[in-house]
């Protein structure tokens, strides 16, 4: 019954697991429902794949449902996503009406479950209107924002705000993302799962197999960026940084590996831009990976000398956490959750330009002792702060706090 949780004990310590069990005691038997828009691709789906079984193992009646939509729905929600991240691009009333209608249809399908749930977590804007339809709700509803909404495009935010203000609480990854609301604004950074295929230790043969399979030279430095082909991740800027750094001499290779999520209609377009920018350079490897290529990504991160995440906007940047966990310093864009994780001269470097990224690539390749030291700090930092068990603890704490509806100190 407690097998999955116990597997984490050798990594985080048995006391961490004991604490989770005790914290979950008052929540046993509660119906806890998560709703998002995709089961595959992207950090939200990855986290839910692991969190749900753990909540179930702790005795919560946890479930996960998705809102189903068509291409027009995803076109609208992608625009919302971009607008929350600051894109000044409005959404037509036709698209918004379609968005509402799709949510209405999904509500009818999920009605019974939503009405009966003790706690409902709604992830991101896609299913946000469900609450408006659920007039006979029994439980507490919490909106979980995974997006860097620090400077949203106001007209789109005002539209979404109409749905979100009625929730009992909302959750953001960073305080900078929290928009004023008439309910508590909880701050919970996400996490990675050290036992998932993406992060588990791999044997040398498997890593070598990936190296050979993609024609990488293990004797030369490898820089990688793993992320969706999305303009906010600035993959073209990474290619520019690689070129500038390589011009100073190091025999660099660059891997840009990613995929597209089923709710992201822009991926193909950005991939074409990246392929064009690579200009047939044999040392630039642009890899379009399927959503289940977790072990391949794991191997590429382990093969990398330095990992980059040069995002212009970033909700949190779980690929940063994954790289730090593998003992790799990260050169990251000075944006969103990357700032929480990349601490200059300790776990990597924050940069604002392709030129800055090139400078830090050269610095780390020149100072291999510092690279090694920063990698070790990076792994300890993730162990203490960004593993799934901490994330689960904060969710349990929040649920206790929301259910008890009480003040600063709650004595169980």
């Amino acid at each position: 019954m407690t097998e999955i949780l116990n597997q984490y004990a050798p990594i985080v310590g048995a006391n961490v697991i004991d604490q989770l069990r005790q914290l979950a005691e008052p929540l046993k038997g509660m119906k806890v429902m998560h709703v998002n828009s995709t089961r595959e691709g992207g950090g939200v789906a990855e986290i839910l794949h692991r969190l749900i079984p753990l909540k179930q193992e702790l005795g919560l009646d946890a479930s996960w449902e998705i809102v189903a939509g068509d291409s027009q729905f995803y076109q609208c929600t992608k625009k919302m996503h971009n607008a929350l991240q600051g894109d000044r691009d409005g959404i037509s009333s036709e698209l918004l009406q379609h968005y509402e209608a799709v949510n209405g249809d999904n509500f009818e399908r999920l009605k019974e479950l939503l009405q009966q749930a003790d706690i409902v977590f709604i992830h991101d804007p896609q299913p946000a209107p469900l609450l408006k339809y659920c007039r006979a709700r029994k439980g507490k509803w919490i909106w979980r924002c995974h997006i860097d909404a620090s400077r949203p495009f106001r007209p789109v935010w005002k539209y979404l705000q109409n749905y979100i203000r009625d929730y009992d609480a909302s959750i953001y990854s960073l305080p900078a993302f929290a928009q004023p609301m008439p309910h508590p604004l909880y701050i919970i950074p996400p996490s990675i799962d050290p036992l998932s295929d993406k992060n588990v230790a791999l044997d040398a043969a498997e890593i070598q197999g990936v190296c050979n399979g993609y024609g990488l030279d293990p004797e030369r430095p490898i820089i990688s960026q793993i992320s969706r082909f999305d303009r906010f991740k600035d993959p073209v800027g990474v290619i520019r940084a690689y070129r500038m750094a390589k011009a100073f001499g190091p025999p660099l290779q660059l891997v840009l590996a990613g995929g597209t999520a089923s709710d992201d209609p822009e991926g193909e377009e950005v991939l074409a831009e990246v392929t064009a920018a690579a200009q047939d350079d044999p040392d630039v490897h642009v890899l379009m990976l399927p959503p289940d290529a977790h072990r391949t990504i794991n191997a590429i991160q382990r093969l990398s000398t330095i990992v980059m995440q040069k995002s212009l906007k970033e909700g949190f940047g779980l690929t940063v956490t994954e790289a730090l966990w593998k003992g790799k310093p990260v050169i990251g864009g000075d944006a969103g959750g990357i700032r929480l994780q990349v601490v200059n001269h300790h776990t990597g470097f924050l940069v604002n330009t392709a030129e800055g990224a090139a400078l830090r690539i050269r610095y780390l390749l020149k100072h291999r002792d510092r690279l090694q030291e920063m990698g070790e700090t990076a792994r300890s930092f993730v162990l203490e702060n960004y593993l799934l068990t901490r994330h689960l603890r904060e969710y349990l704490t929040l649920m206790v706090a929301v259910i008890r509806n009480s003040s600063d100190r709650i004595e169980l």
Binding site: G13, Q19, L23, A176, M181, I187, F381, S406
Partner: protein, 222 residues
Amino acid sequence: MCDPFGVTDCALIAIATGEKAQNIREMHNRLMRTYDEGVIYYHFWGGMLRPHFVDPEYQNHFAGWAYHDLHDRRLAEKLSIINPANYISIEDLRQQVIEVFEQRMDEDDAASRVEAEHPFFFMRSQIVVFDTRMRVDTPEALTELIPDLSLGSLFYHFIDSRRRTPSGGDDFSQWLKCWGGRYQELIEEIHTIDPYFNSLIELREDLAAVFTSHLTTEDKHD
């Protein structure tokens, strides 16, 4: 005979208040109307139980912000020396923080208007406290337990206690006092541990080392 030491655990969740400050003047204004004690508690203590990189130099959030975001080293130094355990109430502590910001504004009016690289976000927390039902009867048993304490328990008994107890100290020392003077040296060495320069994991290691060394010595005396 002393009562057994009861191990309590806690878990903390952070809440953004929605308030922020972009320069010293704004910080001062916000602090002047921050009557929620939970906010000051969070920025001196509560943040230790949340995901964070242990700043090798500046521990309380006000000092860290002054250094990293305002790049005002003088102010950061003044704020860094504030020991929250020295203040009888959170209100006294708040007044001291306000005082340091006011002094800086008096010293250098221009500095008070410098825009920070990133704003300071005011936070508070909710803390869930629960009894682990673990009890230890002797200091020797406590010594064995400390390396296995959860970080929540360590925070509760070693950090949170500084706000919770009249002495502003830690629960371990308080309990050891009831054994007469026998553990006085151990108590004194526990008091030498500066809790603000370590992660909680490192703090637990330091505490375990102190207990182990002293109780071994005590045993030798026996």
